[in-house]
């Protein structure tokens, strides 16, 4: 204990090297022109922001592109080039796991990026997407208004997650509920955190049972792949499987589907233009993901002090990369607030940091993994997660459109994306529609 005059105080654990003494200042003084009068700090943490973040994000991006947020104790990075530069800079910016934010960092090993696991997931989803979509659509009573998100898109998306792990039908409802409970645990609410930790325990126990039953089998699902993968080092545990489920992004698929359909119903001309053309559906999905990304921010933490964006960002600081603001950066996209499928200034490929093969910016989608540094993917490798989500969304959307004779929102204006909590997924949570007669088009 350094210099403390009495001895009974327990010193916190710390290394012997007392580094950390500074000899110069970290925070610069704001000049008058830098203190923007148009941004009120509480705006970033308000119900209004959860409903409509665009005016505030626009102001931040244009006035203080790296914004020191004293309320959330974070640095917001808002311009496209700045955001992508953070994403590819692992030397300076660290990504912390979801389990870290749930104080479960020690639980299990996340194996979602291991090729056999990714391969199993890809094969299972590719093989099941059409059947799952058909099954969900068949169960819908189209004679009454249908909630396209709650009754169709969300069940399809999460049924596919269950399908990838080959979860028995009888367990699926419980499984998805538990997965959603875990997913909420990264939000700030301590009640959700507590519930998520219990849900993680439940998932782990359940996964352990699956492992016991499948450990020596030759199944093609994700659980079997994890079991085989881990067997080379030590037997896989329920925690490993639960950790993999926990860290895998399930929000981008469902969120992008919901937001795509919300935007298409609000722009019926665009919907009519898509027809059955897979390429046009892909462009519409890419544009929807750019226009209304379900994951609006991605958190990074500085590994050490970083001088960037005209700021000195101290070590350990939270950097909130505003995907929403970046995807609407007018430096990259003309009329960025407009939903314009097929826009010429949007690269059709997955974002790859600041590298742009065709000189165009891609939509940033943080949930689908770090941008690939390898432009060519060997044939024996599975597609990237971005490609898997994209192709799945396109297949599902085309099938839904084919199933529906016509679709129109029962409420006007068409419900759009909203975030239910600060920093949470921003998507259209409910989309009541009238479904037309088969073959109405």
């Amino acid at each position: 204990m350094t210099g403390c005059p009495w001895g009974e105080v327990a010193a916190p654990s710390r290394p012997t090297d007392p580094s950390g003494l500074r000899s110069y200042e970290v925070y610069q003084r704001l000049r008058v022109h830098e203190a923007s009068p148009v941004i009120r700090p509480r705006q970033l943490w308000s119900a209004e922001f959860r409903d409509d973040p665009w005016p505030v994000l626009h102001a931040v991006r244009e006035h203080t592109p790296c914004y020191r947020d004293w309320i959330g104790n974070a640095f917001w990075v808002t311009r496209y080039d700045d955001v992508t530069s953070v994403f590819v800079d692992d030397a300076n910016f660290e990504t912390r796991t979801r389990r870290w934010s749930m104080e479960l960092a020690h639980r299990g090993r996340d194996r979602r990026h291991e090729i056999p696991v990714t391969g199993a997931e890809t094969r299972r989803i590719d093989g099941a997407v059409e059947a799952v979509t058909a099954r969900v659509l068949d169960a819908v009573d189209r004679t009454r208004p249908v909630d396209l998100v709650r009754e169709v898109l969300a069940p399809i998306a999460y049924d596919l997650v269950a399908e990838a792990a080959d979860i028995p039908a009888v367990d699926r409802s419980w499984f998805v509920r538990t997965l959603l409970r875990v997913g909420r645990g990264t939000a700030w609410d301590p009640r959700w955190l507590d519930d998520a930790r219990q849900a993680f325990d439940d998932l782990s126990r359940y996964a352990q049972e699956l492992l016991e039953a499948r450990r020596h089998g030759d199944g093609d699902d994700v659980v079997c792949a994890i079991a085989r993968q881990a067997a080379r080092e030590a037997p896989a545990t329920g925690d490993d499987v639960a950790a993999t489920w926990c860290e895998t992004d399930h929000d981008t698929l469902v969120g992008s589907l919901a937001n795509l359909w919300s935007l298409l119903l609000a722009h019926p001309d665009e919907l009519a233009r898509l027809g059955d053309d897979r390429r046009l559906w892909k462009l519409a999905w890419l544009e929807a993901l750019r226009h209304s990304p379900p994951l609006m921010t991605a958190s990074r933490w500085t590994r050490h002090e970083v001088e960037r964006f005209g700021m000195l960002i101290p070590a350990g600081a939270l950097v909130l990369c505003s995907v929403g603001a970046a995807n609407r950066d007018p430096r990259q996209f003309a009329d960025p607030d407009e939903f314009r499928p097929g826009r010429k200034d949007l690269c059709q490929r997955e974002a790859r940091g600041q590298y742009r093969a065709d000189g165009l910016a891609s939509t940033i989608s943080p949930g689908t993994g770090a941008p690939s540094r390898f432009p060519a993917v060997p044939e024996d490798r599975p597609r990237s997660r971005f490609a898997l989500v994209r192709d799945t969304a396109v297949t599902v959307s085309r099938q839904v459109w084919s199933w529906a004779g016509s679709l129109s929102s029962t409420v006007q204006p068409v419900p759009g994306p909203r975030a239910v909590t600060d920093g949470g997924v921003r998507m259209c949570w409910s989309l009541p529609v009238h479904v037309g007669e088969r073959g109405a088009r």
Binding site: E25, L30, A35
Partner: protein, 484 residues
């Protein structure tokens, strides 16, 4: 219905907006000392909902919540504001002495407005700069300034308690009782006048200084009025720049009661001091002036108002203090323990720190909650009771080392250790001497209850809560035997 049943049709897990209720509904005003029930976790520990820290209920009634944190979450991670709270006296003390592990980098919460000051520095860099002006605020230099402080207080009291009171005084024509708002007529301005004297700022600039100080205070730490604070800081710099040039040519001095030179005023000192082989820039000088003005203003203002508010609500203690002049020191310290005007100090951990089983990652912001330390039952018995006679509070000379001996502990209002507030001693003198002067010239002082904010029952006075009084309406009878 699919295999997923009604997972997405019920609102509990899908799209339910559970955080949209207004804070006043989530955290309704509770009787003082009682906390809103926020639920419990799986181990039965009370949950702390971090929206609490933004609520009016917390600002008004913080102590039951800090007690929950001390007892159940002595290191609490607030995931909404991305900050840790350390709330026990002993842990805060340890942190303040561990300058390497708990560094001062996050003090920048004020620097966007104030500029870079020695608050952010550590170690020798901090001590060098602090010593440039710190010696004016302590020890012999301060003792020789006490007469001037008394004179300033007396001058100000004369404006509302003297024979020719100003317009801000209401006089009852029948009884002669006078009614004033104490902050407006005395507490707001008195510390600024003292600070201006010590700095060597001419009298005619005092009004501007008060405006700049108020605006800078309003602009701190993520407030909506940050721009106003930054503008005020610029105006301060414009003024100081000229004054600095003048002081470089014509040094200013502080004098004692006998006309003897105590030493150069602080601005002169800052102008001429050489640090690392170079004089300080105007920018640096202005930042330090802003710090002295900000630090010297709000804390002392709050101490004076809180002291009188508390004493007036405990008439038997007020009577004892009036009867025994030596008790003013105890009243000052007990006020700062009971209702500290400044809530705490931020720190950043230089490396991973594990405390009470919680690992705080390197670089995290840690709020050292002085207010909570001062109400820690492990140190102070019945901490919510205001008692100038309490035996467990050390009321002697303020020590950088803190004090803990023979069952008595120093309070944490000024912090402790290397970053103990350099204005602690002068703030003590200002509050005590100012209050002595008020007591000397005002008789039968009472709170004007009708004009004060009320508590839930609409009758009793509102609690002090966090921070300091904004207004304190009092009435009094001017003493006839002495005129200020």
């Amino acid at each position: 219905m699919t295999a997923l049943g009604d997972v997405f049709l019920t609102g509990d897990l899908w799209g339910s907006r559970q955080h949209d209720a207004p804070l006043r509904d989530v955290f309704p005003f509770m009787p003082v000392g009682q906390a809103v029930d926020m639920g419990a976790d799986e181990q039965g520990r009370p949950i702390i909902d971090p929206r609490l820290f933004d609520s009016a209920e917390f600002r008004r009634n913080p102590y039951p919540y800090y007690r929950l944190m001390r007892d159940h979450h002595p290191v609490f991670y607030d995931r909404l504001h991305n900050a840790y709270y350390v709330t026990r006296y002993d842990d805060i003390t340890t942190g303040y002495f561990d300058e390497a592990g708990f560094n001062t980098i996050p003090k920048g919460s004020s620097s966007g407005v104030l500029g870079n000051t020695q608050l952010e520095l550590s170690g020798i860099e901090h001590r060098r700069r602090r010593n440039v002006y710190g010696r004016h605020l302590v020890g012999k230099a301060l003792t020789r300034r006490v007469g001037a402080i008394r004179r300033l207080a007396t001058e100000m009291i004369a404006e509302f308690a003297g024979p020719r009171p100003g317009a801000q005084v209401e006089i009852d024509p029948l009884t002669g009782r006078r009614t004033v708002e104490l902050a407006r007529v005395f507490a707001n301005d008195f510390p600024i006048r003292v600070v201006c004297q010590v700095l060597g700022v001419p009298d005619e600039a005092r009004a501007d200084f008060f405006y700049w100080y108020s605006s800078m205070m309003l602009g701190l730490g993520g407030s909506d009025t940050q721009r106003q604070g930054v503008e005020a800081r610029q105006h301060l710099e414009d003024y100081i720049e000229e004054l600095v040039e003048r002081r470089r040519r014509e040094p200013g001095y502080l004098y004692d009661d006998d006309g003897g030179i105590i030493g150069p005023d602080i601005i002169t000192e800052l102008c001429t001091s050489v640090i690392d082989g170079d004089v300080m820039s105007t920018e640096e000088i202005t930042s330090n002036v802003a710090l002295v003005v900000g630090g010297g203003g709000e804390t002392t203002r709050g101490a004076i108002l809180n002291l009188w508010y508390l004493l007036l609500q405990h008439p038997e203690q007020l009577a004892a203090v009036l009867a025994d002049d030596a008790l003013w020191d105890a009243a000052f310290h007990e006020t700062l323990r009971h209702s500290t005007p400044i809530g705490g100090q931020p720190r950043q951990v230089s490396h991973d720190v594990t405390l009470h089983g919680v690992t705080i990652p390197a670089g995290s912001l840690v709020h050292m909650v002085d207010v909570s330390a001062n109400h820690d039952e492990r140190v102070f018995a019945e901490p919510e009771r205001f008692d100038v006679f309490r035996h467990d509070l050390y009321s002697g000379k303020i020590l950088r080392s803190g004090y803990r001996d023979e069952g008595r502990c120093s309070h944490m209002a000024f912090g402790v250790g290397p970053h103990l507030c350099p204005g602690a001693w002068i703030s003590h003198q200002e509050t005590v001497e100012g209050s002595r002067m008020l007591a000397r010239y005002l008789d039968d002082v009472r709170i004007e209850v009708d004009r004060m904010p009320k508590d839930l029952d609409g009758v009793s006075l509102a609690p002090l809560g966090l921070g300091s009084m904004r207004e304190l309406w009092i009435s009094f009878v001017p003493r006839r035997d002495v005129n200020p």
